[in-house]
Each structure stands twice: as structure tokens, then as C-alpha cells.
Symmetry: C2
Subunit: 193 residues, 2 copies
């Protein structure tokens, strides 16, 4: 994804002049990531906000018992990070790591706020982005209640086609909230039916 494609995406939701478009990237740091490289580690202060230009990243939390919980997978044009820590200028609760080689844009709260004051048209863009994210999170909550592990796995395959080939299964298991062992038996069952 190129910078101009990113701008096109933003323009779907809010108007942006050519000047705005170039200004926008000045509020971000561009980083190239190797596979398994970490953009932001848990505990990093302050928490960052990340726009994925290309590649596949995952965001996860490690709890006090060293268990990993995958919050989300993200690909091009997704925003990720620890929104809670970011907005409150607190350390990140989550780690963001590249699953494949990736390009990202990174910012912190002072720069983000300056961007919002400079380009108020972005308020609308982020309003819509967060609104859509909220909808998908609500759906994820409902499906986690209603569905069996088997159904959750199928829903995952449908939502992220091809991601299985990139991401180790133990992480998919974590995203679905089940153990890797049980995901393995489910997949075996699936092959039979």
C-alpha cells in the first residue's frame, strides 16, 4: 500500500487537501519491520498508535501468569496498539509484533493531538474508524458467547481468509480463546466431516 493509497482511503470518509495529505505523514514515524520484530513492547511508555502500511501484525497481552492473549490481527490500513494506554498516556498493556515483514506508521499522543488540531477533518475519519471497530468488537463478543469453539474457528476462517497460512496456530487458538491442543483436535474433526 502506498502513501497515496492511504490518503485515498482516508478521503472515503473525510475531505483532505493535497497539502493536508503531505502534512499528515509528518505526524508519524515510518518503520520497516522484519518478521517477528516488535513495534511496541508491553510496558513501553508511552503507548503508541500504529497504522499498518503493509504486512501482517498481531497485538497481544501477556498476563501475570505468562499467558498470551491475542487481541487482534491486523493487515494493511488497520490501526492497532493499546488505545487505552495511548489515550491516557500510560504504558502499553499490549505488545505489537510483525508476523511478516511489514511497514508501519507510528505516533504518540502529543503528535496525534497536534495532528487533530492541525487537521480537524480527521476527527470525522477517526469517528468512523472507531465506530466500525466498535461494531466488529460487539460482534466478536456476541459470537464468543453464542458459538462453540468449532463455530468460532469457522467464523475466524471466514473473516481472515488465508491468515492461517501465515500465523502459527497457537496464536489463532489464543485469539479464539481456546487451547492450541483443542484447536488441533477441532481441525482434525473438521477434516473428517
Amino acid at each position: 500500500m502506498t502513501e497515496s493509497q492511504i490518503i485515498q482511503n482516508i478521503r472515503k470518509h473525510t475531505p483532505l487537501t493535497e497539502a493536508d495529505a503531505t502534512t499528515l505523514f509528518s505526524f508519524f514515524t515510518h518503520r520497516k519491520l522484519r518478521k517477528n520484530e516488535v513495534v511496541m513492547a508491553q510496558g513501553a511508555n508511552p503507548a503508541l498508535f500504529v497504522l499498518i502500511k503493509s504486512g501482517c501484525l498481531m497485538t497481544y497481552h501477556t498476563d501475570t501468569q505468562h499467558q498470551v492473549h491475542i487481541i487482534q490481527f491486523g493487515t494493511a490500513m488497520w490501526w492497532t496498539g493499546d488505545l487505552s494506554g495511548f489515550t491516557q498516556s500510560q504504558p502499553s498493556q499490549y505488545t505489537v509484533k510483525a508476523m511478516t515483514p511489514a511497514d508501519v506508521y507510528v505516533t504518540d499522543l502529543p503528535r496525534f493531538e497536534k495532528m487533530m488540531r492541525t487537521l480537524p477533518a480527521l476527527e470525522r475519519y477517526f469517528r468512523v474508524i472507531f465506530q466500525n471497530a466498535l461494531v466488529s468488537h460487539q460482534k466478536r463478543i456476541v459470537i464468543n458467547f453464542a458459538a462453540s469453539a468449532q463455530e468460532k474457528y469457522r467464523a475466524f476462517q471466514k473473516q481472515f481468509p488465508g491468515l492461517e497460512l501465515i500465523v502459527p496456530q497457537k496464536y489463532i487458538a489464543s485469539y479464539l480463546g481456546i487451547t492450541p491442543e483443542f484447536l488441533s483436535t477441532i481441525r482434525h474433526r473438521k477434516a473428517k466431516s
Copy 2:
């Protein structure tokens, strides 16, 4: 909560003139609800967006097997409804019902969009509202993975103190994603320890 208190709340996030403040309410319909009265039924077309002025409401989805899943409880100054249906002008997937006598403000997408064009300062307000909602939904997803039913129940009590006294336990069970029977046994265990 009075209209002027609502405006004060919105002003915490974005500036609003006196004129704006009076205009704002013209985009909503005010409704008084009795206990158990439904603001918006599942299937209602189009889906509505609801601001709670006072009282306690719940939003839930009924699946094809007549199972009820509580999406959220809300009190004064909370926004609720079916955001997905609302933004896509589709029928509501959720029902919104008053648990106590309540006052609400209701709007539909055409009026909401007109409001956003008339009062663009609200883009920022909703950006922040959705951002905060997103954070709490993320936390709910993580806790549902990590925690046992017992821990989820404790977290619920902490997040909504006193709500247990208002809401029948079977709905709390549904919100937590467990059966009412199991919630009952958990509460019994809790009394012992």
C-alpha cells in the same frame, strides 16, 4: 440528568455554543419509558441510536434458538442501540428495553447525519465516545478469555456496583455468557469464601 447536564458532559470533549446546545436536541425525540418498556425492538427498521437521560436500560440480541444475549447495560449519559444496523440503515439486530422507568433521546440515521453536518464539533465528541467504548469492549473481550465465571462475575460487580439489585440475575448471567443456574451456584460459593 437534565438537558444542561448533558450539554456539560458533551462540552468536556468539544466546544458547543448556547445556540448549538438548543439546536442539538431538535435532532432527537424525547421518550419517557415505563419499566420493561421497549424503545426499539429487534427487527425495527431503521435501527435507532439512543441516548439515556435517566434510568437503566439493557440492549440484547435474541438468536434463532430464542436464546437471549445481553450486549450491554446502560445508565445516564450512555449511548446505546444497534450501531451496525444504525450506520447501515438496516433493521436493528438488538432490542433496547428499560429495566427501570427511564428517559431517553432517540434519533435515526438521517437526523444524525444532519446533526453532524450542522454541528461538526460533534465529530470530535463521538470520536472520543467511540474510542472509549472501544477500549471497554477490548477489555471485555480479554476478560472473557482470561477469566473464570467467578472472576467475570466479580469484575461485573466492580464495574456496575448496585446493578445487581436492579437487574434480574438471569440477565446478568447472559451478560457474562453463563447460564443462570451456574451464576446461582457461583454466588453461593462466593458467600462461603
